[in-house]
């Protein structure tokens, strides 16, 4: 990480050293993408070497007990940075659609700072480090959402980003308050203080609830989701892609760093309720959307519900996050690639995509089928594991909500697929996308179609008992029936 900061400084140095002409024209952004991708690759190599030198199941605490590095966190960092590299590559094309404007170099610098902050949020085990890193993380997000505005919707995007800024600053103050309370109650600012509070159950639980308020707001979980559809809708597609994937997965991973708290009954009950509300709101909201990015925002809320209810079982939690993030990445990649000619704003803009570029239409359909959880694709397995997990613990009410909302959102995904394949085409010309995007999209779709899920499933299911294994054994029998019905 020290290496990362050194590299960051050198990136800024190279940015400064550019001749003014280059910095002001379009080439600056491309140069920044290249530099930052190199920095991220170097950082991943550094993390892999860390993994090689770290003994199994060992945890390394340094910087006077404020930073903790374990193999698990290192894997998560590698995942996030890899996704970030892929997102950076999409930025080469320019992310704002119709006006074909290139993205200026500063946006990528801010993204890099966001990544550095996110690393410290994940590795810090002292709340004072976490809160400063959290502030840096928020600050870079505020800048990111207000730096690039599509020309047409200036006022809407301004109001959405100001709303995000004010509400986020307001909820961050709750995090500060909770840390102050934690210090007052336990006399320590390290993560261990939270264990004392939750496990003894005798002292006040306020620090924990206030903290969860901040994190759930940042995730856009349902009672606190008001900012999410507005913000995601009004930003350029490229920024939306970054916002939906990188910060969200970081906060989700941070929640699991607190697993000793979340796993306790207080924490898990809170997250069950929030998850159930998210599922209901997300899947109901999906049905009334006609703008594509709003649709994806509500889909992310619904999926967040599915993720949150399985938080006490780490393998299925990670599995769901990774599968969901990859599908979102591919969907946004496709939308970004086809919006170079005409800006894709409405779902009806996707109508007739099949006649314009059949391969892309198939790819998009596969992604949506995967999000809907259709059996042969990988998106089916995380949902299965979540359902099994709930079944095992006996949360039948939550299970019923999950199944119903899953069916609801499935119908909406199907209607989008119907629009893509059978709708009338609104534009006649064929779409040609660049070689770079085509490679990334086809790799992503391949990942969604591969039965990798089965291998992961075996690992995940070691946890479950024999009755659940019987259900698993019955699934191959049910699969053809299910797909026939669809």
């Amino acid at each position: 990480m020290i290496l990362g900061i050194g590299l960051l400084t050198s990136a800024y140095g190279s940015f400064l050293a550019m001749p003014t002409g280059i910095r002001s024209t379009n080439q600056g952004g491309l140069l920044m993408i290249r530099t930052i991708s190199l920095i991220l690759v170097a950082s991943i190599i550094f993390e892999i070497s860390t993994l090689l030198h770290l003994p199994d199941n060992s945890i390394c605490v340094f910087m006077d007990g404020t930073i903790k590095l374990s193999a698990q966190i290192t894997y998560l960092l590698i995942f996030i940075q890899t996704i970030a590299i892929i997102i950076l590559q999409f930025g080469v094309e320019g992310g704002t659609g119709a006006q074909l404007s290139r993205i200026s170099g500063e946006v990528f610098l801010v993204m890099l700072v966001n990544l550095v902050a996110l690393i410290y949020v994940l590795v810090g085990i002292d709340w004072l480090v976490t809160v400063v890193a959290w502030e840096l993380f928020n600050l870079s997000l505020y800048l990111l959402v207000s730096m690039q505005r599509p020309a047409g919707s200036k006022e809407i995007s301004l109001s959405a980003s100001v709303k995000y800024f004010l509400l986020s600053a307001y909820t961050t103050s709750f995090l500060l308050l909770s840390i102050a309370l934690l210090y007052g109650l336990t006399g320590t600012t390290s993560y261990d203080g939270l264990i004392m509070i939750v496990q003894t159950g005798e002292v006040s639980l306020w620090p924990f609830y206030l903290m969860m308020l901040t994190f759930l707001f940042k995730l856009g979980a349902a009672p606190l989701h008001g900012w999410a559809p507005d913000l995601y809708d009004s930003l350029p597609t490229y920024t939306t892609m970054f916002l939906l994937i990188v910060p969200k997965s970081a906060v989700l991973f941070l929640l699991l760093q607190l697993d000793y708290v979340i796993g306790s009954e207080y924490g898990y009950n809170l997250l069950l309720v929030v998850g159930a509300i998210s599922m209901i709101v997300g899947s109901l909201g999906l049905s009334s959307q006609w703008r594509i990015k709003r649709f994806l925002a509500y889909s992310s809320i619904a999926n967040l519900g599915f993720i949150l209810v399985t938080i006490n079982h780490a393998p299925s939690y990670y599995f769901y996050i990774i599968v969901y993030m990859v599908s979102t990445l591919v969907i946004f990649g496709i939308i970004l690639s086809i919006s170079s000619g005409h800006n894709i704003e409405y779902i009806s803009d996707l109508s007739g995509l099949y006649s314009r570029n059949p391969a892309l239409a198939y790819a998009l359909a596969i992604c949506f089928f995967s999000l809907a959880g259709t059996p042969p694709l990988i998106g089916f397995f995380p949902k299965l594991v979540v359902i099994l997990n709930l079944l095992e613990q006996g949360y039948f009410a939550i299970l019923a909500i999950l199944v119903i909302s899953s069916i609801l959102s499935c119908c909406n995904y199907l209607s989008v697929i119907f629009t893509i394949h059978l709708g009338k085409d609104c534009y006649k010309e064929t779409i040609v996308i660049s070689y770079r995007n085509a490679i990334i999209i086809s790799a992503g779709v391949g990942l969604l179609m591969l039965p990798i899920g089965l291998y992961n499933l075996v690992d995940v299911l070691c946890y479950f008992n024999h009755e659940s294994m019987l259900i698993i054994a019955a699934i191959p029998l049910m699969t053809p029936v299910k797909s026939c019905k669809l």
């Binding site: 900061i5 960051l8 800024y12 910087m63 006077d64 404020t66 930073i67 200026s104 500063e106 610098l109 801010v110 700072v113 550095v116 902050a117 410290y120 810090g124 002292d126 004072l128 480090v129 400063v132 890193a133 502030e135 840096l136 600050l139 870079s140 800048l143 207000s146 730096m147 505005r149 308050l177 309370l181 210090y183 007052g184 109650l185 336990t186 006399g187 320590t188 005798e202 002292v203 006040s204 306020w206």
Partner: protein, 171 residues
């Protein structure tokens, strides 16, 4: 007595905050903002953190509030006094203020355990745990020896703000 003054300062700060967001005239808002900072500074001073209290006044009142004044002077702000003199945000602001007051009360009660009879262990502050030093020493030790990572991250925050300001203002 001291604790009463301290809580009174907190209440003053809260009401001044509500005034800041609900007033219509920018100069009134600014004066009330200064009151908020002063109350915060007094609260620190009452708790014997002289250095932080004075820094509050010097930095916030002396520099930032004056910068706001410059902005108000230079931007022609027309306050239309013919419109009704209520801010449409008054009701939400009242709700937020009362909610935060209630929250503070609730948390305070749960911490001191007035009703449940539990014992809360208040840890001594930084200043008393480094009792031999003045609070400047304590701050220095905390920032430079205990949490250097946070210092580096704050430096990064300054850097990203500098980067972000340029495109934001040049739109």
């Amino acid at each position: 007595m001291i604790s009463f003054i301290w809580q009174a300062m907190g209440l003053i700060a809260l009401f001044a905050c509500m005034f800041v967001v609900s007033a219509l005239n920018p100069v009134n808002r600014l004066v009330m903002l200064i009151v908020v900072y002063l109350a915060g500074s007094f609260m620190y001073t009452i708790m014997d953190f002289y250095f932080i209290g004075l820094t509050y006044i010097i930095v916030y009142v002396g520099a930032i509030a004056i910068l706001f004044l410059f902005v108000i002077m230079m931007v022609p702000v027309h306050v239309d006094f013919s419109t009704p003199k209520t801010n449409s945000y008054v009701f939400p602001i009242m709700v937020l203020g009362i909610a935060s007051l209630a929250l503070g009360f609730l948390v305070f009660n749960s911490m001191t355990g007035l009703d449940s009879g539990l014992v809360a262990y208040f840890y001594p502050s930084w200043a008393t745990s480094y009792i031999a030093f003045s609070d400047v020493y304590t701050l220095g030790f905390m920032i430079y020896l205990a949490y250097p990572v946070s210092l580096v991250l704050i430096g990064l925050a300054l850097w990203v703000t500098l980067i972000g300001i340029i495109p934001l203002t040049s739109i």
